[in-house]
Symmetry: D3
Subunit: 219 residues, 6 copies
């Protein structure tokens, strides 16, 4: 695990050191590398980091270091902040409603693209407020929906949350199975429950079903 | 229409093939190219794709393929997902409110910038749930606000939605006309209804009014 | 202040002109440059712009010009737009709720990363609707949370808003001081109020406390 | 004429200054730029310099500044140096012969390629020893053969040399005309005086004949 | 064989076309590509061309097209030109001696480096004057010494020249065998006939001996 | 001394290792790095290598490894090869003269430019044939003229050669002093012995005189 990766040169350096250690130890299976994305410059170069070496196994977003690097004004480790919100237009005398926004959308979405393009695994990192199980669950689920395959657990209670969150919803899995049954070869355009299905939704369904099958097989 | 564009080299390839076909067929007007942005790597290289050839006419976001490429956990084609939300801080014993977030903000905003910088047209792609006319309308309008000039229609009902959404709001057009009347040459700083107007808002008003006039002229 | 910066070449040009003027005038302290990020191409190249010259002091997001450059369909200068929203799934016969989204998340987050990586200061620019003090406050606070250090004020009332917003929340400062007291050297893992604290949260706390101390010293 | 060009950024700077001067003066024909290649870094970036702007008209090799920039140990302006030679293998007791080498081959050949690829004109610059007419002629002719279209003249005697040298040899022109007569359309393979002629030699012949015709027309 | 390669994009295009043809024809062994280096822009990008695809097998210098592309003033296909010479300093009243220079040194040396770095084979191309067997031999041998592995033959007489030239000199092979015998493992520093031998000369000797063994085995 | 440098990443790696060793040892003066240019890929990237780190002190051409890497057909360490020659055109029945060419012109000239642009020192490496003092002297002098500041010595006899060669010729130094006396400020155009002198030749003269003064001061 390589912390505070700033650019591909950090991975290259680790790559060579590991190659020398492996050679000395006579290892045949390469040691893999997991990078922590936790600086502003790292985000700027996330695509190059993800593709820096065949050793790259995955990447985790580290929200606390990243926040400090950007001078974001939050002392939380992951999760939202009540100050980041969009205010609705005024409507008569009623109090104007505001909706809180996701602090991490850009960072997480760009990291997921970088990882997917390089064929490595994106993870969400730590959620610091261990008592806030609901907040943790919301954060983990958002990361899961956006494409992450897992998260860090700082406490046993978070392991349970992660187990639950990083498994696809049974209703969605059932729907995905129907899509695959209806279009076994992924070709043509079909309607299921009034929703268009084609090779693209078939691929989405595959992602869902394969993950469900994999998790079932593990248990 | 070129699907699953991964990088500028895909456009270069199509560019040359078309040049040879045009030469053989004796065509004088170049055949234009519309690219589908529907892979993680494509998003990483969207600026280079948009600028890859003078044939580039526009680009559409394909949310289903893109979701599959990123392993996003949604089987929907466009629209939101209830699992992507930010949870508000707890407040007494009341149930904590959460606000759903836009899955596509990063992808769409970056694509719009890439297209605008290259002088080509950004489109939102398909919305799969044909029965969900409200969801379709919300998705189309978000894309419109962020800079897209149109969307795909999978069904006649979506054509009507698109027609309505991709026309600017009459109130905004009226306001924009007032801005342009008040500052015909786009210079200086003015206040209209307590809102500062200058060359920048004048340009915004131009975007709005020109689109309205164009659409009116078509009908 | 350099408006409508499109790429690093704009900064290079200003850089050389200033060098010649400084040489002619016999200046010894270099004149610094503040760039306005207000075009689509500028966002595409924001990292290169931020790092284009040691003269770069900071960068401001100009939402009105940027919106016009992208053909976003808003005539407002900063703030949200009611048309950019995500619609929740239907739930029985109740009206579907929708939540408004932040138009500027991607642009602002990417600009903050570019600035932080280059060691320069990110600002939010103007908020045009002077009468809408609540909207202004929400916009300024969002920018502050995401990492900006200030904003432009078009009117005395906005100066007061800015003063209030760009100071960290006293509760958060108090909490940050507790973090630093508990882990003076920023090492090890500690729990405070059930929230994990380590070198990363310690750095976040430092950002908060240093800003508070700086502002206090000024007054 | 832009001296001591180090990289494309130097041309970009001149480009913008000229654009502003032209705009102020209401000029319609763009002012062109001729760059002097006379630093080591300039040679490193010669391809980028040649392609830096549509204003680029040509480039000249400045051997004295280039020699100083490289710390070459010659005080001559162009021409050879007796110290740069290759020694033949010893052969019995005879004195070993050595052959003097061209100091400028790499610099000139790379500059010609950069210019040809960018569609601009390569020139040899000054030859400093005005009394050495034979040396001047040899230097000019070498540059001509390698692809330059002209040279600088520091004295009337050098003008005469240049006129003579930068005209193709009448025997070669006559041969080139025979090639073009024999293969008017530049297709197929032919033998002339036992030398293979094809589309490539036809193009060489074209270069020769067109230059001869152009020079004849001028007189 | 791909003529007039200007940059890696030409190889990419051929690469994809071949991939499609192979797929249609059910071929399992990939069709390889040999590129002709015969334009100024090609030389500028020769490293990228050599590394453009795993299909790249080798590259040949095409001197006639290259000369035309550069507007070199020669109508010959390969070989030297009497006009490209360096003049010695005057020495009393004796006629000044001049030494003819190699027109192709830069182009050939850079191409050899590009090929060697990419692991592909460099060739010299055609020599046009079929009657000039001595000139052909000199040209072929120069290319051989600089690192080429072969040349094109336009006539049976050139085949014999090529066979003779592209075999290493028996005296050099004998010397190389002595080097390898003296330092079988390529380690340490040794003196043979007063010439320092180490791992580097051992590698040179290997190149020589392996080529000799390979050619012997073929016959 | 870093052998077989292939690209800037090799220097980066050494750079970091040294930084860690220096930190551990408490060194305050940075350890400098001298790179050996002795592979084809190294030549392709020589500009990036020279500029890879502020630790770079200089670079040496290693002709034996470079020859092996390129499969040049020479077993010598530096110097020329009788097989690399240009043949003059036939002239009656006389034997055609050929002139031997410099195997290393491109490699050395490009390395000198890379070093000069990066502000580091270029050296010629070893000359293997210790008995061939004339050949050694010719090789060293060529490197000196082209811009190298020194060479390696494998034997005491080569130290003497190097001392003599890498000092500028007294006649040239005397001439250079006259240039500087005649134009003390390096401005304007002057004639000395019929040779044009200006700011460029003044700089050449400076190179010569400063080297002479430096060497004199050392003795």
């Amino acid at each position: 695990m390589v912390p505070k990766v700033e650019g591909p040169e950090d991975i290259h350096y680790v790559d060579r050191l590991l190659a020398q250690l492996e050679a000395r130890a006579g290892l045949e299976r390469p040691i893999l590398v997991h990078a922590l994305l936790e600086t502003a410059r790292g985000v700027n170069e996330v695509e190059a980091i993800a593709a820096a070496s065949p050793r790259m196994q995955g990447m985790s977003l580290g929200p606390a270091d990243l926040a400090a690097s950007r001078r974001m004004k939050t002392t939380r480790v992951g999760g939202g902040h009540p100050g980041y919100r969009v205010l609705a237009d005024p409507s008569g005398d009623a109090e104007r409603s505001g909706t809180q926004q996701d602090l991490w959308h850009y960072s997480l979405a760009r990291m997921v693209d970088a990882c997917a393009a390089a064929g490595i695994l994106p993870f969400y990192g730590p959620f610091g407020d261990i008592k806030d199980v609901e907040g943790c669950e919301a954060q983990f689920r958002s990361a899961f929906i956006l494409g992450c395959v897992g998260a860090w657990s700082l406490h046993p209670v978070q392991i349970d949350i992660a187990k639950q969150v990083f498994s696809p919803d049974p209703h969605e899995v059932a729907f995905a199975r129907r899509v695959i049954e209806a279009i076994p070869d992924g070709q043509g355009v079909h309607m299921i429950d009034g929703k268009m299905q084609d090779d693209a939704t078939w691929k989405q369904a595959k992602v869902m079903v394969e993950l469900a099958d994999l998790l079932e097989a593990r248990e």
